[in-house]
Symmetry: C2
Subunit: 308 residues, 2 copies
């Protein structure tokens, strides 16, 4: 079985949507990536940091899904990273109510010895210096390094971000971030400029409008599944990335055809994530549910036109 | 060969985009619908009205594409409907600079005698009373009536619009209009509410984000082709509708499977429309170009995942 190394936040989230609000619940990019990747037949480990306030049961929840947690450092006297946000009625925009970095401010990632040869590395959205640090700790060159990042790092740590981007094989960002990173409005042009920066593949996440996969000469599109209700979008992007990384790691196939399937699976898993608050839906996800939804994706997109 | 009756504006447009601006050029929903539909093997006729200022060469251009123009009334002392708009840098929003109804203010549509038994009727965006009037002139029940409309008629002529909607088989509107019409934010819920108003099929156009086709229990999605450059979006929605109507009319197949192909063709043709100002690109479109682009749509959307 191949190994997937994930670096990303493991955190508390407090969420308000038009459907309700939560107290501090389990969240963080690393958590959502791990839960999604664990759907596939891979050995996964998360590198992260939490405080002494982080409940044992959350670590147990991850371990139950075959996710190695030895790389999640616990700082006994520290507090866990906390994010709080409120979604507007359209669910596409949100206000951040609180961001408390806490132990994340001094995060010094340590890749477990048995994951320094992981075939696939998924760098969740974090300071690019931390992402670089993880790459440097690898003792053998991964088959595939996937980078997630955001506009904040483009605004504040451009040079470090460029250094990471040059070292990765796949970058996943949203449409506005692709435009900011490239200076191009057209996503087709943006992707080509980003490919010149280093990555072989660019995945542009458009939320409810799906995701685009680019290499230097091909484009593939995975729609988001149209849903009756989006209950809580938190973690959908990370779940998409985790599904992508998990699929690739389980197949050990880094061709464009494999990436196509990976973004379909990413979109598939993300469509579950938004059905309940936080990680709730992902915790109960079954193989049958994912398979049935895959059939829905086929019905949604597959057509037969004879060329006349 | 089956007959497609189109009612819609034939007009002058003056367009500004970040790439340049035009004088008064050929425009109008009926024009774009007709040009797109004429790509298919159908007899098409446009019902509309123009002024004495409308150049003969524009009518000849339509006739050259096998579009019957006897239903386009010429009011010698009148002026042709004129619209002028300026697109913003993102091409997704625009300011209307001028709307001069002119002869359209007194438009009294007259369906040519030989089109009163047309198999397919495409009602372009117009006052719902005009759309109703056209339906009433049909002497045999069309196989399919397709309605395009917009928020303006929802704001100003709700009752008349409801009367038309109850009589049509397919409605094509954009996402915001679907929300306004249904009072539902979720497009899945919106489509189901609209189906309760009468149409069997709902097509929701999302511009650069593609189009969704709904019936009471199925959804199909056609992406927009990601383009390096959108030169002028004017007429893209009408070209989509014209491609949809033209395909259906040429096949005389009104099944969901046929509608799926129809929105793929609509998206295909619309992707050409935006490449040049106004109708320019559609005037030179070849069969080979459309076929090649259909292959691009397949590469963009078709995947093979074995269910494991």
């Amino acid at each position: 079985m191949s190994k997937l190394l994930i670096v990303g936040t493991v955190a508390f989230d407090a969420i308000e949507t038009p459907f309700g609000k939560t107290d501090k619940i389990l969240g963080g990019a690393g958590t959502f990536i791990g839960l999604a990747a664990s759907y596939f037949n891979v050995d996964a480990a998360i590198v992260s940091v939490v405080g002494g306030d982080f409940p044992e049961k959350y670590l147990a929840l991850l371990e139950d899904r075959n996710i190695e947690v030895s790389g999640i450092e616990v700082v006994p006297n520290g507090k866990t990273f906390f994010w709080s946000g409120r979604y507007h009625n359209d669910m596409n925009s949100r206000d951040t109510l609180a961001t408390e970095l806490n132990v994340l401010a001094d995060f010094d990632p340590k890749v477990p010895a048995n994951y320094k040869d992981a075939e696939v590395v998924m760098l969740g959205n974090l300071h690019p210096t931390i992402q670089l640090d993880v790459i440097k700790q690898m003792t053998s060159t991964p088959k595939l390094i996937i980078l997630d990042t955001m506009n904040f790092w483009m605004d504040n740590t451009w040079d470090e971000l460029m250094e990471v981007i040059a070292k990765v094989d796949v970058i996943t960002i949203n449409d506005e971030e692709a435009r900011q990173l490239s200076g191009e409005y057209s996503l087709v042009k943006a992707a080509q400029k980003i490919i010149e920066m280093g990555p072989k593949y660019v995945v542009i996440k458009k939320g409810e409008h799906g995701a685009l996969l680019f290499d230097h000469d091909s484009i593939f599109f995975a729609p988001a599944l149209p849903l009756e209700e989006v209950f809580d979008p938190t973690g959908a992007g990370d779940t998409f990335a985790g599904g992508f990384a998990g699929y690739i790691a389980s197949r050990q196939d880094i061709s464009f055809e494999s990436m196509k399937n990976a973004i379909i699976y990413g979109s598939n898993l993300a469509s579950f994530c938004v059905e309940k608050f936080g990680t709730q839906r992902m915790e109960t996800l079954t193989t049958k549910e994912v398979r049935d939804r895959l059939k829905q994706f086929k019905r949604l997109t597959q057509f037969e036109i004879e060329l006349t």
